[in-house]
Amino acid sequence: MSAPTTSPPAPPPARAKRRIGDVLFRGSTQVAAGIILVALAGVAIFLTAEGIPALRADAAHLAGESTFLAYAWPLLFGTLLAAFIALLIATPLAIGVALAISHYAPRRLANLVGYVIDLLAAVPSVVYGLWGANVLGPAMVPVYRWLSEHLGFLPLFAGPASGGGRTMLTAGLVLAIMALPIITAICREIFSQTPRLHEEAALALGATRWEMIRMAVFPYSRSGIVSAVMLGLGRALGETMAVALVLSAFRIVSWDLVSGTAPSTIAANIALSFPEATGVGVNVLIATGLVLFVITFAVNFSARMIVARSEKGLVR
């Protein structure tokens, strides 16, 4: 960083003649960066443009509902419920796995484990869906039966338990497995950035490993964990194929996690209905997509804000 020149990060002196190659190259990198901006704006603009006609759609295109909101609300409910279940399961698991990698496992094993978790992220979502519908769902049926028999007084497990395992809880589990790698990756990164001296100081005071983690690692990485969870939430909210394959589509509002009539999600509903949709029906689906986009955008935006703020604090 040479201070006296006019353009700080550009090391050649300011009075050097402007080379045509430099101008072109610089311009093209700026255009590329501009495309990112345009693309993101384009997503919002085109979805809005194609989604607006949905507000005037009639009952024929809204599956019998009178307004778009009445149509979208059960789907939104299903989306939020599935994502919430997924996070409830994935967060403790992911923090545990991240701790195992960063603070428990020997280095060699930790690298291997990190790679294996990355492999989980690389599996295509449609494969997760096939696995969830064919293996996980049927395997969970006895658990659902037990839950509805013994905990049936709770509205969550009211039942009747699904015979095929195509339930909200299965969808939540599959989403949890899909959100696990992203949360783990970020938590691992943050845990391993804990200042070495803090950890050693805690250990030197006689703390056990868990006390060290609680005193030195967690306070340092709290905001990082929050943002990791929110990024996982973003993934769980937008996941399509796994839910489309696992759940049979019902547009209902139901808290029942173990019955076969489960609320569908926005993304799954689009995937299931889009190929057959025509006319305003397409606009209705695009409008629900816009709702999903706004929610995930808000979630990701706030997560990144939290990360950015905590990074500013960490630099010191």
Binding site: P11, P12, G21, D22, F25, R26, T29, Q30, V31, A32, A33, L37, A39, G42, V43, F46, L47, A49, E50, L93, G96, A100, Y104, V116, I117, L119, L120, A122, V123, P124, S125, V126, V127, G129, L130, A133, N134, V135, A139, L180, T208, R209, W210, L231, G234, R235, G238, E239, T240, M241, L245, A267, A271, F274, P275, G289, L292, F297, N300, R304
Partner: protein, 430 residues
């Protein structure tokens, strides 16, 4: 201040000498402490009024106990211990090193016994064994050691079991896909499309072609944009406001749901080509919306790793900035960039939802990205499973075969990317 002064007057030797003559003061401090009952009175004012006595005011208090004890810190602890309990014990009781192993054996045995007598399956056996272990080891530690150690052992168990639980789906998934998909593999499966196929037979040729074309086109669109954006962020923008905004937008773009990307491509193309548009190129656009942020991130990381000395050396030789970037920075970072790009391709190759929306599905081979529907592997797997046809078993079998083929493609791209990164690395490193 004044009450302290008054109290210190009682011991004129230790307080008044202190500011003027530190060596004498520390010696006198030790002497006073050594005398015993007067110690608390003297130490009190010293520590509460550090502004008058200066930094060495605490020193005598800290040093003081040392000459008291027989030797080092261990000796002091022993002395204190003997004062409290009347016996010399240097170490707290601790579980032997083999305690976890023994507990694991006992837990496994208990689980196996229960599973055999009650006829449980493998899963129940594993769960019961883990539960027995998670209860038994902390309980043992609680008896022999202390509560803190017991909690530590419990958490250690939980952390490792979280890891084990995370592995279960991966293993189960791999096993399921391989065992169900492998029987579908045959020469016909890879060389035939589904055109005019009812029931048995047919293949995924058209889907493989579609996946390769659409993903390839997405890579052609995303790699230049992603790489140039990364260059802008690292080489030109570095820390300035527009670059920070772009940086943030890239982060947000990472989180766009894949189905929304598909809807975006559909909305975009339906404005130009009318409603109900389906084309492979639209799928490429949707995939590049998902792929660009990944490419930007990985390229950016790699460009940041290039040492600044290399750039400065190049500038010192009078090389223009753009040639420096093209000839010095990019070749240095090439290994990492190739790896990152391959991982990004692997990621989007498995995307289903956007292609379902914009590329549609068909039974025939379509080599033209710019017209008509185009089948892809994930969409093929999805439709073969959801609409397997009459008799359903052939369609379901093809779905698993396509899933296995897809996993193989994605994983080999993944491995190839990491391998290329390794292969390129020695040329650039050190």
């Amino acid at each position: 201040m004044s009450p302290i002064r008054i109290r210190t007057k009682e011991r004129p030797v230790s307080t008044d000498d202190r500011p003027q003559d530190p060596p004498a003061n520390s010696a006198s401090g030790r002497a006073t402490v050594g005398t015993g009952p007067g110690q608390p009175v003297a130490a009190g004012p010293d520590t509460t009024g550090p502004d008058t006595t200066g930094p060495d005011a605490t020193e005598p208090a800290a040093v003081a106990p040392a000459p008291d004890g027989p030797g080092g810190s261990g000796g002091r602890r022993a002395a204190r211990g003997s004062a409290v309990r009347g016996e010399v014990s240097l170490r707290a009781p601790k579980l032997p090193r083999w305690a976890p192993l023994l507990t694991a054996l006992v837990a496994t045995a208990a689980g196996a016994l229960l599973a055999l007598t009650l006829g449980w399956g493998l899963i129940a056996f594993a769960v019961v064994s883990a539960a027995v272990y998670a209860v038994a080891l902390p309980a043992w530690a609680l008896v022999v050691e202390n509560r803190r150690s017991a909690v530590d052992r419990l958490i250690t168990t939980l952390v490792w079991s979280a890891f084990a639980i995370a592995l279960v789906p991966l293993v189960s998934l791999t096993w399921t896909v391989v065992s169900k998909g492998a029987p579908a593999f045959s020469a016909e499966f890879f060389s035939y499309s589904m055109r005019n196929v009812v029931g048995e037979g047919g293949g995924i040729y058209h889907a493989i072609v579609g996946t390769l074309l659409i993903t390839g086109m997405a890579a052609v669109l995303s790699i230049p944009i992603g790489l140039m954006t990364a260059i802008y962020l690292v080489e030109y923008g570095a820390g300035r406001r527009p670059a920070r905004v772009i940086n943030f937008l890239v982060d947000v773009m990472t989180g766009i749901p894949s189905i929304v990307a598909g809807l975006f491509a559909f909305a975009l193309f339906s404005i130009f080509f009318g409603p109900g548009v389906r084309m492979g190129f639209g799928g490429s656009v949707a995939l590049s919306v998902l792929m660009i942020p990944v490419v930007v991130r990985s390229c950016e990381e790699m460009l940041k790793l290039v040492p600044n000395e290399l750039r400065e050396a190049s500038y010192a030789l009078g090389v223009p900035q753009w040639r420096t970037i093209v000839k010095v920075v990019l070749p240095t970072a090439m290994a990492g960039i190739v790896t990152g790009v391959m991982l990004a391709i692997a990621r989007v190759a498995g995307e289903t939802a956007p292609l379902l929306v914009i590329a549609g599905s068909t039974d025939s081979v379509n080599m033209n990205l710019f017209a008509e529907r185009m089948m892809t592997l994930p969409v093929f797997a999805y439709y073969s499973y959801m609409q397997p046809g009459v008799p359903p078993q052939f369609g379901v079998e093809r779905a698993w075969g396509a899933a296995l083929a897809l996993i193989l493609i994605v994983m080999s791209l993944n491995l190839l990317g990491r391998l290329l990164g390794r292969l390129f690395a020695p040329k650039t490193g050190r």
